[in-house]
Each structure stands twice: as C-alpha cells, then as structure tokens.
C-alpha cells in the first residue's frame, strides 16, 4: 500500500466518523486543532483503520499520533 492509498483510505474514515470533508484531511492536519476530533473519535478512527488496513493501533500508541501524517506513517510502518 502506498502512502497516498493510506491517506485517501484514512480520509474516507475520518469523513465517515467525524463528518470532515475528505479534501480537508491533509497530511499536516492536526486532529485536535485543525480537524476538531477528540480522543473518543480517535478511538473510532483507530478501530476503522484496523478494519480497513489490518493494522492495530493500541490506545497507548494512539495518543502520540497527533497529525494525519502520523497515522499514515504508523499504518505504513506496521502493515
């Protein structure tokens, strides 16, 4: 899977869970500050990402993923 594929898959997930339009989900976007996504929604996103990419993101690691790119990197590294 390319980073671009992960990014667009993630954008779909974020649009579904948080209602943020996919084109606003840019690599540098910060979940809390830019996308207004709180920690409970992050859990939903992590679960959906596990379903889509087959990569588990445990709570302890999830809290360190602050931007969209952080999640893309995590999925890429662990898939």
């Amino acid at each position: 899977m390319t980073d671009q594929e992960i990014l667009s898959g993630l954008a779909e997930i974020i649009e579904e869970i948080a209602g943020t339009p996919a084109d606003e989900v840019t690599p540098a976007a910060n979940f809390v500050d830019d996308l207004d996504i709180d920690s409970l929604s992050m859990v939903e996103i992590a679960v959906a990402a596990q379903d889509k990419f087959g990569v588990e993101i445990p709570d302890e690691q999830l809290k360190d993923l602050k931007t969209v790119q952080d999640v893309v990197n995590f999925v890429s590294k662990n898939s």
């Binding site: 709180d38 920690s39 409970l40 859990v43 939903e44 679960v47 709570d59 999830l62």
Partner: protein, 318 residues
Amino acid sequence: MSDRPGAKILGFGGYQPDQVLTNDDLSALVDTNDEWIRARVGIQSRRVARDDETVTDMAEAAGAKALAASGLEPSEVDLVVVATCSPETPLPNVAAVVAHRLGIPSPGGYDLNAACAGFCYALGAAADSVRAGTTRNALVIGAEKMTSWVDWTDRSTCIIFADGAGATVVGRTEPGEPSGVGPVVWGTAGDQADKIRITGRTGALTQDGQAVFRWATTAMAPVALEACRRAGVTPADITAFVPHQANLRIIEAIAKKLGIPRDRVADDIIHAGNTSSASVPLALARMAEQGRLQPGTPALLIAFGAGLSYASQVITVP
C-alpha cells in the same frame, strides 16, 4: 413441543430522584462546561438521590410502578431480583427488603451484581426461572446510587454517573402464546477487569474510558446480533433499541453498526445520566410513558460494563 411455559413482559416502571444536577452545576465543581459534556457524553442533566434516599427506596419506587403496570397483585409475585452494584450495605440484600415493603409475601429474592450489565443479566435469569416452571411472576429491578461512589473532583466520572431505578414484571405466556423474552446472550471479558473499578470499601469509581469506549463500540454489536438471532429476528425487525445508557456516542455507534434508525434508539442518558443497571429499565419505562414502544413488536436490549460484563436479549413489548 415442550409443555413448559414461555416468559413475557407484563409491564415497566421507572423512578428518578427529584434533585436535578445540570452540566452548569457540575462546571462549578470541576473544570468542564455544558458544551463539552453534551459533545463528549450526550448528557444534559442527571438526577441525584437525597442523602437519606437509599437504593432500596428507589428500587421500591420503581418496583411499585412496574407492579401497578402489570396489573398483578403483590401476592402473585414469587421472585424478586434486584440488579445493583451500589447497595448501601452487603446485607440484608435489597430484594428481601423491597419484597416486604411492596407487600409481596415471601418470594424468592436475591441481588445480582453484574455492574452495568446487571438488569439484562437479571432479566435473563428471571425469564429462565419462569420458563423452568420455578417461578410464576418475577419482579426484576435495576437500582443504583452511583453518586455514592463518585469522586466529585474527578471530571471524567462525576459528569457521567447518576441515580435511579427501573423495573419490569416477567410472567408466563399462555399456552400457544409465543415467547415474549428471547434467550439471553451473556458473557464477560475478565482480561479487562481492570478497566472499570472501585478499589476497597470506600474507593471511588474510576475507569479507563478510552479502553471501555473501544470495547463497547466494537464487541457489543456482535452480541446484540446474536441475541436477535437466538430470538429469531433481525435488527430490521427491532422497533426499539435500548442499550445501556453509558455514553450517547457509544449508543449511536452500536446502533449504527446494527443499522437501526436513530429514532428507534433509546437516548434516556440525555436526562438521566449513566445509572448503571438502572439505565435499561429506566429507558424502557420512559419510552413506554412517551408512547414510543409498539406493543407486540420486538425490542432489543443490551447492557455492558464493569467486569467487563455484557448481556443482551430481545423482548416483546407488552
């Protein structure tokens, strides 16, 4: 064909204490605000029992209403089960005292602790007892005073938990009448026992909110589906979905996974908070009062919480 009776629901009753605790009240105690609480948990207000108001008092009030709704005389009830994890004292149990106060002459009586899953566990056990022929009519109550166990300086819990009680009466079906309480699907996840806890005799309730959120929003929909399957229905048949009122976002996430439309989903948490094992029967009682339940149709119940524990069944609305 078995000549054993089936079980069915005969009525609901709910009780909430008078004292209202709003989000604004809470923002005076801890660093929070109305908007944050509504967005994160979905609660607008919740009720707090008086200092001298006990779990037994609330159980009695809800039980009396359910009994009245059922049309039964107290003497026709031969089992009282009270789901609670917050009784004031380990003994005597709540069931025996409530039975006496309601004028039910010497029924079987026991308390059941499965935390927030308690009511669905109790309903499962009571329905099984009716089906086995052991019991004619059971009064099943969920009653909690969670505010006794809350640390009022901990904003992650004090905004959530509240007090109240709900009850239902379970009786026997007539010969040939279809079952009105589906088989319960219950279980535990003891590997996550540390996620919701009260430590020691006087400790406050604490939880690992994100871990519980993750578990509830992923593991509960399959349990609810299994309960539907065992009752011979699908989620599309369900006219009322009543999950434990833990957090509005958990409720909505599970409902979405099951494909159940939002207007069929109980959201009692908005004005009741999380009342642990009282939440499902309180939500049912309120939906019944509001005319939101369709008689003769299947309603899906699921409760989950500390243990971690869960239980789910389909009931036919009386």
